[in-house]
Symmetry: C2
Subunit: 217 residues, 2 copies
DNA sequence: ATATGTGAATTGATTCACAGCG
DNA sequence: CGCTGTGAATCAATTCACATAT
């Protein structure tokens, strides 16, 4: 069982997501056991790192043997909170919002799209990915009714803070922010930025400074 | 002028991108000077952090005064390599690839879309964002002809490594990888992952572990 | 007087080496 | 004997305090 640790590097959480992807693939391929060595190669980190990352949460392997793939997969899912389904709403049904709503891997086992919201009256009522777009004024009600936990912000940068405020007001617990701007939220709401323009600008820096290698979180 | 430092934390580069966005907004609003204090508040970091981040690259402020907005904007752009235009190709014109091609902020000052590639014969020849989709077999030629520097990978996860190989083979210098998988490239090619599914799973973890606050790189 | 720039101190993360178990 | 699990050592990043410049 677990430690329930007081502190975990956020880079560890990012890596756990990668490890989960790798063991899930192994499991689908019918592989029964694996090792920190193998996972390290696939995730492009050191084997030490893998063992240390897992050690924050407990002991999941067998000494001399390695890890049992289905067990490790299940344990990492439990650590990441992927034993339950998360219900998601998208605020801003432009091209990005619509592409995300239709993204086939999105209806992952763990995430379910439950609402689409926009301010534009021309969009409200339209059907996207089998859901009717609602006006943002209905957010509070539908978050409550549908038990929505997570909101995507896919509005233009200037509208991002308003979208965040609306989501917070509606009682959402986490936000995936696709807008290229820092948003302010209360301490208890978590925000993950997904900012490809920022990624591009980091790329630009590392291309002109090839001697500086980034270690990716 | 600059230090040209041997080592810079990658978190510093991410923060510089944020600072750039903030000073650009200030400049557009006609503000002439600012301070580490103000930038800190906007970027949600400490003022120490801002001054230290900038100090890796030189001295850009005036003691007792603060920073001159247009100067700081220009200097951060120079640091990030945004004094030149970067030419971009998109590999994989599915929903995400198409949404990116049409994203209005994409034709930023510094990035220019120069090629769209796919393997699907049904897509080749179609016009998207004013560009004709080419077959991936034409990548080498067009990267050379168009002077393309950066590739986006927006193909399904299983095709991502092949897309990466094709881009590397064509002589690309940097990759923005939207596929949820770790790709292998030679040391001299830089990869930035843009993985919203990973972001969602990190969110899941931080929602069920609210006592653990992430400090965002 | 005021806000930057920076060495020193502290805190945090990664690497290592090997103890612990199967 | 092999591979995990983990305290200790190293390395890196952030915070601090204040000297410095205007």
């Amino acid at each position: 069982m677990a430690h329930d640790p007081r502190t975990v590097p956020s880079a560890t959480i990012s890596r756990l997501v990668t490890y989960l992807r790798i063991v899930t693939q192994l499991e689908q391929g019918g592989v029964r056991t694996t090792s920190s060595e193998y996972l390290a190669k696939e995730a492009q980190v050191s084997a030490f790192q893998i063992r240390k990352d897992l050690a924050y949460f407990g002991r999941f392997g067998t000494r001399g043997e390695g890890y049992t793939v289905p067990t490790l997969r299940r344990e990492i899912e439990r650590i990441l909170g992927l034993t339950r389904q998360w219900r998601v709403a998208i605020v801003g049904v432009g091209r990005i919002g619509e592409a995300l709503a239709n993204y086939p891997n999105f209806r992952d086992y763990h995430f379910e799209l439950k609402g689409l919201f926009d301010l534009d009256p021309a969009k409200v009522g339209r059907l996207v990915a089998g859901l009717e777009i609602k006006h943002l004024s209905e957010l509070n009600r539908l978050v409550l009714e549908q038990g929505i936990d997570i909101g995507f912000i896919t509005v233009p940068p200037k509208a991002a803070q308003d979208a965040a405020d609306a989501l917070v007001q509606a009682g959402i617990k986490g936000i995936l922010n696709f807008a290229p701007t820092v948003i302010e939220v209360p301490r208890e709401v978590h925000v993950e930025p997904v900012d490809f323009l920022a990624g591009l600008k980091r790329l630009s820096f590392y291309i002109i400074n090839p001697q500086l290698k980034e270690e990716l979180a």
